[in-house]
């Protein structure tokens, strides 16, 4: 997504976008990308405004298009219901494809792991350095930090623990993380 589209999207969030740029956005080739960005921003904005809406998965594009074309909203709802009905009948075919895919991949993976535990170990050993190498290049050793830096690290740990101590619904684990962060490092 280029800068101009991103700009349009963000002004849409502020209700400031003009029609032309909205149309351009809607005709962007990668609607998946556009929708993803919109949803991420929307989620964050909802949170800022404390409106938790379960609507994050609703396709906004269709609604906006309908509004631009001057169609009443109800009509687009009707079409989407009809489409839902139709797609329910088509669904088994899609499901079959999905099953084939999943079975194809899933069976292979499961079988590998069970039959050859040794090979799985090697695989995961390979994966680990691949995953952590680029990060390890710039490990921050705690002993290299001075007091002020250590305290800043602790502060981050604390605030993070605090965000999901009670909130994460993990009860005691959350508290424990909190206390652990508050204590020595």
């Amino acid at each position: 997504m280029d800068e101009r589209l991103r700009e349009t999207l963000s002004s849409m969030m502020d209700d400031e976008a003009d029609e032309l740029s909205v149309r351009r956005l809607l005709s962007h080739s990668d609607q998946h990308d556009v929708r993803g960005q919109w949803q991420r921003w929307q989620q964050i904005r909802d949170l800022m405004h404390e409106q938790h809406s379960p609507a994050s998965a609703i396709d906004v594009a269709a609604g906006v298009r309908a509004a631009l074309d001057g169609r009443p909203e109800s009509r687009s709802e009707k079409t989407s219901v009809a489409e839902a009905g139709r797609s329910a009948w088509r669904w088994p075919v899609a499901a079959m494809v999905a099953v084939a895919l999943v079975v194809g991949f899933g069976a292979g993976a499961g079988w590998d792991g069970d039959a050859l535990p040794g090979s799985r170990d090697i695989a995961s050993n390979d994966a680990v350095p691949a995953l952590s190498l680029p990060v390890a290049e710039q490990q921050v050793g705690l002993q290299e930090l001075d007091d002020a830096q250590l305290q800043q690290m602790r502060q981050f740990l604390l605030e993070h623990a605090q965000h999901n101590s009670v909130g994460a619904g993990r009860g005691s684990v959350g508290y424990a993380r909190l206390v652990s962060a508050g204590n020595h490092y």
């Binding site: 002020a148 993070h160 999901n164 005691s172 206390v179």
Partner: protein, 342 residues
């Protein structure tokens, strides 16, 4: 006639239904729950209510990296209200008492750490639960067996990460109540990164009032959990920065107020990470990753309009994920300007 007609169609209909059912079941099963592990999911569904609605007392240990802590806890669910008291068993003597949404912390001042920051201060309690996160989509739940923990029979639920963006979890749930009595966060090589476990536990409805009273001397700090200060909603749109990428399944779960910067916490239902974006002050921080058990801190410095900013990603996620998140933070130029002014 009609009857016969119907009957003749029955087998076909039945077959179609069965096929459909089988297909939908296997589609769902294969995509989310491997056969037979809906049981594990049922256990998980009990976990949330059990954490709050079970009354118990005990001592648990918590270990990450080379740190081990133990705490004594009394937890009571009475008249629809959660009351609990936690007392630190080592280090300085502090305690946390919660009655419904009121939290009081008594913590010894340890000098270097500002302990009033320890208190859960935001409207977080409901933030996570209001998001119905389909844990099964990001973790593969399986019933991994049975065991005994702190004298209670438990079921072991394994939640294996479906991708490399998150860690795997293993939960030990008490069979009668579903209470979490032990848990582990595991890395890709099955190594245990974080460990929580009750060593002494009594599940009982008989918890007296004075077990829930503060007894330590010290500075008391009180907070309410449900009401945060009204947020300046217009504080630069989207908090002044956005994420271009976040690991699938993680949704914004809380927008805590950070000291000077702007932070948002994300959760996938099990794991969480927080993203801090702050103007770099006089204190310079190094760039890179640091790990304590399952918790990663990734720091990165960026410049926007020649203003240095510090991006910190902290959470129970692998270093590579934290790094990717940190790399995808985009800071609004407007925000940069705002901070220059302040």
């Amino acid at each position: 006639m009609t009857f016969r007609c119907k009957r003749r169609h029955w087998p076909a209909l039945l077959l179609a239904c069965l096929l459909l059912g089988a297909m939908s079941a296997s589609a769902r099963g294969a995509a989310e729950l491997p056969a037979g592990d809906s049981l594990a999911m049922e256990w998980l569904e009990r976990l949330g209510p059990a954490l709050n609605m079970t009354s118990y007392r005990g001592v648990f240990i918590y270990a990450r990296g080379d740190q081990v802590h133990s705490m004594r806890i009394a937890h009571r669910y009475k008249n629809g209200r959660v009351e609990e008291r936690l007392v630190m068993q080592d280090g300085g003597n502090g305690e946390i008492v919660r009655k419904g949404m009121d939290v009081v912390c008594v913590l010894p001042d340890r000098g270097r750490v500002r302990l009033d920051e320890v208190i859960p201060s935001g409207p977080f309690a409901e933030a996570f639960s209001s998001q119905l996160v389909p844990v099964g989509r990001w973790y593969r739940p399986t019933l991994a067996g049975q065991d005994r923990v702190a004298g209670y029979d438990v079921a072991i639920v394994s939640l294996e990460a479906r991708d490399s963006h998150r860690y795997s979890h293993r939960l030990w749930l008490e069979k009668e109540t579903g209470l979490l009595v032990k848990s582990q966060v595991r890395g890709p090589g099955e190594e245990v990164l974080e460990h929580f476990q009750f060593t002494d536990l009594e599940i009982t409805g008989d918890i007296s009032d004075d077990e829930l009273e503060i007894r330590s001397q010290g500075r008391e700090i009180k907070r309410k959990l449900d009401h945060g200060e009204p947020r300046a909603s217009a504080v630069a749109r989207m908090n002044g920065w956005t994420l271009d990428w976040q690991p699938e399944g993680f949704v914004p779960a809380a927008a805590p107020r950070s000291g000077k910067g702007k932070a948002v916490a994300f959760s996938d239902g099990l794991a969480a990470f927080s993203v801090f974006v702050e103007p770099m002050g006089r204190l310079k921080m190094p760039s890179g990753a640091s790990r304590v058990g399952a918790t990663t801190i990734f720091l990165r410095e960026v410049s926007v309009n020649e203003r240095p900013f510090l991006i910190a990603v902290v959470g129970e996620i692998p270093p590579a994920t934290a790094r990717k998140v940190a790399d995808s933070v985009r800071i609004d130029e407007r925000l940069a300007l705002e901070w220059v002014g302040s």
